[in-house]
């Protein structure tokens, strides 16, 4: 009933049908929420801001506060300078944030508002900050916007005092859930290395109910830490689409060594992150992490026959999908269709490289694809499992596929943002989700005589 593709295969070259990406400001807004006491500000017309808040609210089930310059026709003709100045004044007066993080929308980009100049001309109370980034929505995707806001944080805030670098690591976590950020911080703590993570949406987008509601919850990266990040010894850039550029900027600006890594999803990517810290700081990997890793291997052995050789269609944000593809290969599964909506030709190269190394042939890989592409491929030749964000549920139903929700946005299930898919614990969770989906399907489909208690 919810078929997105016509009966016959048709070429699809113009526009997008059922996209796998959103626009830059969404990512910028999410990143900005990862600074403590920050009010993200959307410089453009109100609708964009409302949409971005709504999208974040739906996924995280937490209020996503953000203000807008509320453009109308006048601003579109005469420029949005005065709107932004009024907004900055109002925001400090009403909401009193420590910092306002401004991002542009298509509209203000098209007009060409010169944000740095407008900010310079604005009234900014003593001790408060206003930072900005450009997020033209007609380039990249929400991931690009996330990366751009991280760059904004580096360029406005990070500094180095020229003294010897501190034995500390910066972490650019990428566009991941707060539950994942927490998990990554825990692993780094276990390794005994101090860290500064930014953005850090823990405590903000998974905020607890407390006796008193705070518009700016306790969580988020502290401004002074972001400033001090220029004095750290190294930076882990997790996920190249989201984090490479800000890490490179920090390296250039403050001479902090950037270490590009995958998002730590799956055994190998988690190993890589741990080894990077071990090598950089000369620490020993504690037994606790060895045990966690061993539990993952034990579980993989206990379950490998549930999923070995099964084919998977996987879609989502590039950093997520790349790491997940690697893990699926570790699990002995076959990533048959791999898509992201975000542009970037290196996506196809990386995935194809992984598939080739694993000796997997006949897979289809696409950057800047959409769900129309994916469903058409599935129609031509189906798979055993679908993995992706909530939008995949229509394909799962139309094509009768078991479905594992992974990535962003997930709007039809709760708890996701709190539960990690990163690190070794994340591996366990992914194995559980994947095995369960396949076993539930087997239970549903099998004949009475094949219905078994022990699987």
């Amino acid at each position: 009933m919810l078929d997105c593709v016509p009966d016959k295969p048709v070429a699809h070259t113009a526009g997008k049908i059922n996209p796998i990406k959103a626009c830059q400001p969404l990512g910028a807004m999410y990143a900005a929420l990862g600074i403590h006491g920050c009010l993200p500000h959307s410089h453009g017309s109100q609708g964009c801001c409302a949409y971005h808040r709504m999208a974040l609210t739906r996924h995280f089930r937490d209020p996503a506060m953000a203000s807008s310059s509320s453009f109308t026709e006048g601003a579109s003709v005469f420029g949005g300078g005065s709107n932004l100045k009024t907004a900055i004044k109002n925001i400090f007066q009403i909401y009193n944030p420590d910092i306002i993080a401004v991002h542009t929308t298509c509209l203000s980009e098209t007009i060409g508002d010169d944000i740095p100049t407008i900010i310079k001309q604005s009234e900014i109370p003593e001790g408060k900050y206003v930072i900005h980034c450009n997020t033209p929505s007609y380039k990249g995707s929400h991931i690009t916007g996330f990366s751009n806001m991280c760059k904004g944080m580096v360029s406005y805030l990070a500094g180095s005092d020229g003294s010897e670098k501190k034995r500390r690591v910066n972490i650019f976590p990428g566009f991941i859930n707060p539950g994942d950020m927490r998990e990554i911080k825990r692993i780094v703590s276990e390794l005994g290395v101090s860290y500064i993570m930014y953005p850090d949406t823990t405590g903000v987008m998974d905020s607890p109910i407390l006796p008193k509601y705070e518009m700016f919850p306790k969580g988020g990266a502290k401004i002074e830490d972001i400033i001090d990040s220029g004095n750290s010894q190294a930076t882990l850039a997790l996920g190249s689409w989201a984090s490479d550029e800000p890490a490179a900027l920090l390296q250039e600006k403050c001479k902090v060594k950037g270490i590009p890594l995958k998002l730590p999803i799956g055994v190998k990517a988690t190993d890589d992150m741990i080894m990077a810290i071990k090598n950089e700081f000369g620490v020993e990997v504690p037994e606790s992490l060895d045990i966690e890793r061993g539990q993952v291997l034990d579980t993989l052995i206990d379950t490998h026959f549930h999923y070995q050789g099964k084919t998977v269609a996987l879609f989502g944000d590039p950093d997520h999908v790349i790491a997940m593809t690697e893990f699926l290969i570790t699990m002995g599964m076959v990533p048959k269709y791999v898509l992201t909506g975000t542009p970037g030709s290196k996506f196809e190269k990386i995935i194809n490289g992984m598939l080739e190394d694993a000796g997997i042939e006949g897979s289809k890989v696409r950057a800047e694809g959409d769900l129309f592409d994916l469903q058409q491929w599935i129609k031509e030749e189906s798979v055993d499992l679908l993995i992706g964000n909530s939008h995949g549920k229509y394909i799962a139903r139309a094509e009768d596929l078991p479905f594992v929700r992974f990535g962003f946005p997930i709007m039809d299930r709760a708890v996701h943002p709190l539960m990690p898919v990163t690190g070794y614990r994340g591996c366990l969770r992914l194995i559980e989700m994947i095995s369960d989906a396949l076993l539930d399907r087997r239970d549903r489909d099998c004949l009475d005589e094949d219905y078994e208690l022990v699987l």
Partner: protein
Amino acid sequence: MENTCPLISETDAALITDRQSSIMTAGNNKKSISCDVDSLAGSVSQRACVFSGARVVLNPVTDAVHLVHGPIGCASYTYDIRGSLSSGPNMYRRNFSTDMKEKDVIFGGETKLIACIDEIVEKYSPPAIFVYATCVAGMIGDDIVAVCRGASERYGIDIIPVESSGFLSGNKIIGYRAAAEALLKLITPKDGEVVEKTRKLNYLGEYNLGGEKWVVERYLKEIGIGINVAFTGDSTVAKLKKAPGACLNLVQCTGSMHWLAGMLEEKFDIPYMDVNFFGSQNTIESLRKIAAFYDDPGIYARTEALIEREMKAVTPVIEKYKKKLTGKRAAIYVGGAFKALAIIRQLKELGMEIVFTGTQTGKKEDYEEIGNLLNEGSIIVDDANPAEIEKFLIEKKVDVMAGGVKERFLAYKLGVGFIDHNHDRKDGLIGFEGAVKFIREVYVTTCSPVWKYMKEGLKEEDDDRNSQQDDS
């Protein structure tokens, strides 16, 4: 509209001085509120944009392609945004975007738009395509009207521009109007075509969320009246084109459809009346009004029989939950005044006290009507922001709030129950059965055991508030 609100004291004042005139207190003699104005820059308005208004009105047309001409975001966020159900086609649940790129912004997006239309016609041969202009398309001056006209002629189908550039206003009403204009274009008979008049009625401002249109359709059928077409819930292009054949237009969501109703009266001589099927009392009144229009003894009799039968089911539910809910304090913050009025009435029937009401797009008359329904001291706000919502929820010791997605989690964080009553709801709340569902929902969230745990944590902080709420 120069009025401010003398009943609100200094400490009670809105957090932004510029917004004073958008807040008033019921029972005050000067019942005028500043509304219909642009939101203040930086105020965290809960409002959306013109495009969003147009999209929510048109999207339920089930067999049309809805093509958003702009960068990807606008389409992405409105992906299957409505809970509107279809009895047939599902084209409307797909999400089409021209996905404008930098190059299109610089050189113009018309070529790409044409290519997308061509591809869509080849792939799906839809009976109509709505092409929505977004901020960028409007800004760079793409002539979507000309592109649509050209494509329409090429393919012989309705390809209709919707002029919904977001920057035109922060108010969805402008988008409702753009949608209504597009609909009018669609249904106006082409030269020589005649639409035959019938005894059926059109049902405007009904979007079939969770099958709501079908509920009312069933009632009307039972009393002997047919629905010609709804605007736009579960409608198809062909059904909409029959719209001029109706003998009456019902207008439910007034904000989105009054203008169109007026146009239909002017062009096709179809009278209209406002109806409201939310809550049992509103439903009863509306059914009687419709019956009176047809003025037929059979219809009258069947209407009364239906009301009697349905109320037998509703009354005990009201009685049952009234016991639990009487005296609880409620807040309402919704998109349109039509919805606010319906909710006020339902909550009052349950013995609840409405202490705070606001809308994103209400008009002066709407606020007057709201003010008349509320008790002295109740706060009324136009275009509220989260700071105000938070302030009033706490100050007024609210137990439950009705609102949309952006208010839900704020309410929860403040320990306030929540009922979703917005256009992206997926579950119907209309008619007698909807009223029952609504009452249960109010009960479930207001009296959930979860608040107790929260209150235990709060005990030391604020004993006063706890004792207020403890009896659930």
